[in-house]
């Protein structure tokens, strides 16, 4: 397949670097200022230029969107509300009957109905495995089981928040201390608010709920419909109290066709959902197959890129 990659953050970069190993060519790579194009594009050279000058290329975005690719990989930063520029990039590709693979959560969480309408009109397909749980095949597993037979999906879907909770409980350290440590380790971003206030986890919950709701003919949800509480106000002493009773606290996403709830919850310390550090877990409850647990790395460039490239591999040839 010929890929156009929008976004040169950790994920976009890793997709570009790994695409060759999966048998795909990258014909264009764009950051927020401009695009580099080639047939195929010399990835090493483009990324070196980005490294040196801060800009990957000078060509206008429109030119890349109009180029001859099979799949548009949308990996620009997740934005809320209108989900731009991710939504328009995806819509532009679909309107040209190209496939779209999203790593960007915005369009599927905030504008699922608009996106589905664009897919209806298109010969191209849409996949978004990378938006939920990084390397964990959460969306695909739900699809394989049949979303109409999946009752509920719960899990730990934010590695930063989980790292903070794990360290606070294990070491008795304060929230600010652990968060600073997470930033030093690169586990938390410079502005970690979306991770610790529950927004990032909620977006993933909304995406799953949208898949479950679509299968039941119900309208799509957006972030505003989710009930969200973060972990940013939890004192270490609260975690210690729970620990004395063999329990701990995890930021749990609870998504079903009836809605999405995200918040700190008490779970057994040795229970399935009490994954530690930056690990994520997705627990799928089904009518016929019982409960499935999938755990693994929920973030990271190569991990998320592996989900993007697995999506690309599932697309039909154009």
């Amino acid at each position: 397949m010929r890929l156009a990659v929008m976004g040169v953050g950790a994920v976009g970069r890793a997709v570009a670097e790994l695409a060759g190993q999966y048998g795909h060519d990258v014909i264009g790579l764009a950051d927020s200022t401009g695009a580099a194009m080639g047939d195929p594009l010399d990835i090493e050279e483009a990324l070196a230029r980005k490294q040196e000058t801060g800009v990957v290329g000078e060509r206008p975005h429109e030119e890349l969107l109009a180029a001859d690719y099979d799949v548009l990989v949308e990996a620009t930063p997740t934005t809320l509300g209108d989900a731009e520029p991710g939504f328009s990039n995806a819509a532009a590709a679909l309107s040209r009957d190209r496939h779209v693979v999203l790593a960007n959560k915005g369009p599927v969480a905030e504008r699922y109905a608009d996106l589905r309408a664009a897919v209806e009109e298109s010969a191209g397909e849409l996949r978004f495995e990378a938006t939920v749980g990084g390397a964990i095949p959460a969306v695909r597993t739900v699809e394989d089981l049949g979303p109409e037979r999946v009752d509920r999906v719960r899990g730990v879907l934010n590695g930063t928040a989980n790292f903070v909770l794990t360290r606070m409980a294990a070491e008795g350290l304060g929230y600010d201390h652990v968060l600073a440590e997470a930033q030093e380790l690169g586990v938390a971003e410079a502005d970690p608010s979306f991770d610790v206030d529950g927004t990032d986890a909620a977006l993933k919950g909304v995406i799953v709920a949208n898949v479950l709701r679509e299968a039941r003919g119900e309208e799509a949800l957006s972030l505003a419909d989710a009930d969200v509480t973060g972990i940013d106000e939890l004192p270490t002493s609260a975690l210690s109290l729970a620990g004395e009773d063999g329990r701990t606290v995890r930021l749990i996403v609870d998504a079903s066709a009836s809605g999405v709830r995200v918040g700190p919850r008490l779970v057994p310390e040795n229970g399935t959902l009490a994954v530690t550090g930056t690990q994520n877990i997705v627990q799928i409850e089904t009518g016929h197959a019982g409960r499935l647990n999938l755990s693994g790395r929920g973030a990271g460039g190569a991990e998320t890129a592996s989900a993007v490239l697995a999506d690309v591999g599932r697309l039909p040839p154009r």
């Binding site: 719960r154 009773d245 008490l266």
Partner: protein
């Protein structure tokens, strides 16, 4: 199961540490408090996630003595997971955080208990930065079968009014 002589049969679910003599030590308080041990069931090889051994015990007790048996077991350090499922089986934990003391903790507990079927069975409070700062309370609440959801709604409502954070148990209210 109540009989004319006032003796009732109860079931207890205990979790024991895997050490010699644990079972005998756990059963002593039953006789000491007037209970009559009917049966002990332990599924060989079965372990809790924490490595403890789950044991189910049936006991005959004169009217009103069952609470003493349960208390006696707890004093002995035995973990009573459930005593007569119907009543204790629905015990659940809730963590509250915020200005608990400033917002009248005993008032909060009273309000929770006002919901006639809910009882505060255990409370641990920690206020490492003094009672005027943020403190946390860990509550073990008892509610009758099928009423945990309502009990939790009550806690949520009080917490919202008093600007407290509730960390709910995952298994409740589904």
């Amino acid at each position: 199961m109540s009989r004319p002589d006032g003796v009732t049969t109860h079931t207890l679910r205990l979790e024991l540490v895997d050490e010699p003599g644990e079972l005998a030590a756990a059963l002593d308080p039953i006789a000491e408090n007037g209970g009559n041990l009917l049966s002990v069931f332990h599924e060989r090889g079965s372990r809790t996630p924490g490595g403890r051994i789950p044991v189910e015990v049936a006991v005959d007790c004169p009217a009103g003595k069952f609470e003493d048996v349960v208390d006696g077991l707890r004093e002995q350090g035995v973990t009573v997971v459930a005593a007569d499922e119907e009543y204790y089986g629905e015990a659940f934990r809730v963590l509250l955080t915020g200005h608990l003391v400033d917002t009248d903790l005993s008032g909060t507990l009273r309000e929770i208990e006002n919901e006639s079927t809910v009882s505060v069975e255990e409370l641990s409070l920690t206020a490492p930065d003094g009672v005027e700062a943020i403190s946390s309370a860990y509550l073990r609440l008892g509610a009758r079968s099928g009423e945990r959801g309502a009990a939790l709604d009550r806690v949520r409502e009080i917490a919202e009014r008093k600007d407290l954070i509730v960390v709910e148990p995952l298994e409740v209210g589904e």
